[in-house]
């Protein structure tokens, strides 16, 4: 036979891809196969591929649902008594493109109706809470309503740290019916990793004697790049060997262009704008001595998971939530509003960013390797069915 397309990449082939995946289930197992459609699909980072990597071992069949509206076609094609799950991740698509608060509210109301209807068709709802509210929220009240709805209607809510449950309840005034606390996986093994520090620095043109900090990922207002710049600039005056390696796409948002200009003009900043191809990620992370996360706020961070997978200790702002991704002995906290003190921490590295700290990160990140975390989530989901 011929399959003239890449599986899971085109919405037009959704049904063929989904049902082909089901044929790989174990139909003789004591626990029946379960069709686990997940939405939205994010192929820009490996998170979803990693958390579902262990699902088939539990006879859970992950299915990429690239278009929400196609879910019904899958339900029409599933054997009648086959359990079916809709795993919802980020909710930004629900209100994306809204022109006004009323428009956003109408979209949310429609989405709620769809979810109720699907649950009426026997679909179990799993929601993973990636953040409390979207970064740069435009209609906070509408977004809160949507999250309250998800908390009230999900059969299982997945959070990545036990403190997040309290946070959800205090923010939205609703507790989930059932919750699973399963850590964000580290990205160990998710990216090519075959260069050492010397090769990575040669590739990027970073002096071997430099002390390199890396900030990886999109440049967005909530990530605090501009605020951190002030502290870094002071630190370089204290320690001229410091370099700040920044790699990521600059979104069309406030502060982006200003950051680009400052970075371009600063001799100790090595700024690589644009999306970094998978094969190149290792160069940026293997060239570094530590990662920097100057976020103003975050709940879970794929970037932390990524740098942990490359054994990097971190400098993290007080607004950056690290959940369980990092061992405490490899974390240096700093206050974005105190650039002077932050500069001193950068210039005179404490024990938390030493070689011993790298070892601690390596051990810790293997403990939350994708296979381990995926297995935990699959077990929790099975239990909830």
């Amino acid at each position: 036979m011929i399959i003239p397309w890449r599986r899971g990449t085109a919405a037009a082939h959704f049904l063929d891809d989904a049902l082909s995946a089901l044929t790989a289930a174990d139909w003789t197992a004591a626990e029946p196969p379960v069709a686990c459609a997940y939405w939205p699909v994010d192929l820009a980072n490996p998170y979803q591929a990693l958390i579902y990597s262990g699902f088939p071992r539990h006879n859970l069949v992950p299915i990429r649902l690239r278009e929400f509206g196609r879910f019904d076609s899958l339900l029409d094609a599933l054997p009648e008594d086959l359990p079916r799950v809709l795993h919802v991740h980020w909710l930004y698509e629900v209100t994306a493109g809204s022109g006004s608060q009323g428009d956003a509210l109408a979209r949310v109301t429609r989405f709620e109706g769809e979810i109720r209807r699907l649950r009426g068709r026997g679909v179990r709802l799993l929601w993973t809470v990636h953040n409390v509210l979207p970064h740069e929220t435009v209609y906070p009240e509408v977004e809160k309503r949507l999250r309250r709805f998800m908390l009230e209607n999900s059969d299982l809510v997945h959070v990545m740290h036990d403190s997040h449950l309290e946070l959800l309840e205090s923010t939205f005034g609703v507790a989930p019916k059932a919750a699973a606390v399963v850590s964000h996986p580290s990205y160990v093994g998710a990216y090519p990793d075959h260069v050492d520090a010397a090769a990575a620095r040669a590739h990027l043109g970073v002096p071997r004697t430099a002390r390199v900090l890396v900030t990886f990922g999109q440049i967005r207002p909530y990530k605090g790049h501009t605020a951190f710049f002030d502290a870094f600039d002071r630190a370089v005056r204290l320690e001229p060997r410091l370099r700040w390696l920044v790699a990521g796409k600059v979104r069309d948002e406030p502060g982006g262009r200003e950051f680009m200009r400052r970075a371009a003009e600063h001799p100790a900043v090595l700024f690589y704008p644009g999306f970094v191809p998978e094969a190149d990620v290792q160069f940026y992370l293997r060239a570094a001595d530590a990662a920097v996360f100057p976020y103003r706020s975050s709940l879970n961070s794929g970037a932390v998971a990524l740098t942990a997978g490359f054994d990097l200790p971190v400098y993290a702002s007080t607004g950056t939530s690290l959940s369980d991704l990092m061992p405490p002995e490899a974390v240096v906290r700093f206050d974005l509003d105190d650039p002077e003190k932050t500069a001193r921490l950068l210039a005179e590295p404490p024990a938390e960013v030493s070689a011993a700290a790298r070892d601690a990160v390596r051990t810790h990140s293997r403990g939350i390797a994708p296979a381990v975390v995926s297995d935990q989530l699959a077990t929790e989901l099975r239990r909830s069915l």
Binding site: H13, L19, T23, T28, P32, D76, A77
Partner: protein, 227 residues
């Protein structure tokens, strides 16, 4: 020069198509530098003329060139699937008309249901198609409860196998799904015998039997009809 070549393209293409219409449509595929639009035209024309082999060739060429649309990709998958049925490792495509007297496999006999596995008194799964190209159907038969295990009267407790959503799928994929579903039904109900009521469903009955047997369950069928 390049611009001139480009401007002449529709003229050449029209002439080629006109020639192909009159003679060998497939020859157009072998023309040096043939445009993908012409290949697409060959695929469409071949389908309209009921020449699936040529349509398949044209679609394969579109895929090779990276020019096949999603619809053409699906069409090629289905077309190739239909044409490849019967090859080793595949569930044979049913004949266009039921041939109960022809039998399937070494253990079948003229006019009798094909049977895979045997254990008197235990639940049986009966699989059939009303027509060779009709959707698969199945029923559970419990001889112990007094329900006759023959093809006719055993159909009252039908198992919902076919789903409307499978209509657009390649036949082999729909068959694989049916095998999975029937395997589940067999395992859950302690089926020890899988019977096929017509030649076209016999390979599926065999596949279900093998799947259940390979699961190593005590209730699994212990013998099989078709080697």
């Amino acid at each position: 020069m390049r611009r001139l070549r480009r401007s002449l393209r529709p003229v050449r293409s029209g002439a080629r198509r006109a020639r192909a219409r009159l003679g060998d449509l497939g020859a157009l595929l072998n023309t040096r530098g043939v445009a993908f639009q012409d290949i697409r035209w060959v695929a469409r024309t071949a389908l309209a003329r009921d020449q699936p082999d040529l349509a398949e060739r044209a679609l394969l060429e579109l895929v090779r060139l990276g020019k096949a649309s999603a619809e053409e990709q699906r069409l090629l998958r289905r077309l190739a699937d239909e044409r490849g049925a019967g090859a080793p490792g595949r569930q044979p495509r049913p004949s266009t008309a039921p041939e109960p007297s022809a039998g399937v496999g070494s253990g079948s006999s003229a006019g009798r249901p094909v049977e895979a596995g045997s254990s008197a008194g235990s639940p049986q799964l009966l699989i059939w198609r009303d027509r060779a190209d009709a959707p698969l159907q199945a029923t559970l038969v419990d001889p112990a409860a007094g329900v006759p295990a023959d093809a006719g009267s055993g159909r009252s407790g039908t198992v919902a196998v076919w789903r409307t959503g499978w209509r657009e799928l390649p036949r082999s994929l729909a068959d694989e799904l049916a095998i999975g579903l029937l395997t589940r039904v067999a395992v859950r109900n302690g089926v020890t015998t899988v019977r096929a009521d017509d030649p076209s469903s016999a390979p599926l009955a065999e596949a279900v039997t093998r799947a259940v047997r390979d699961a190593g369950r005590p209730s699994a069928p212990t013998s099989e009809l078709i080697p």
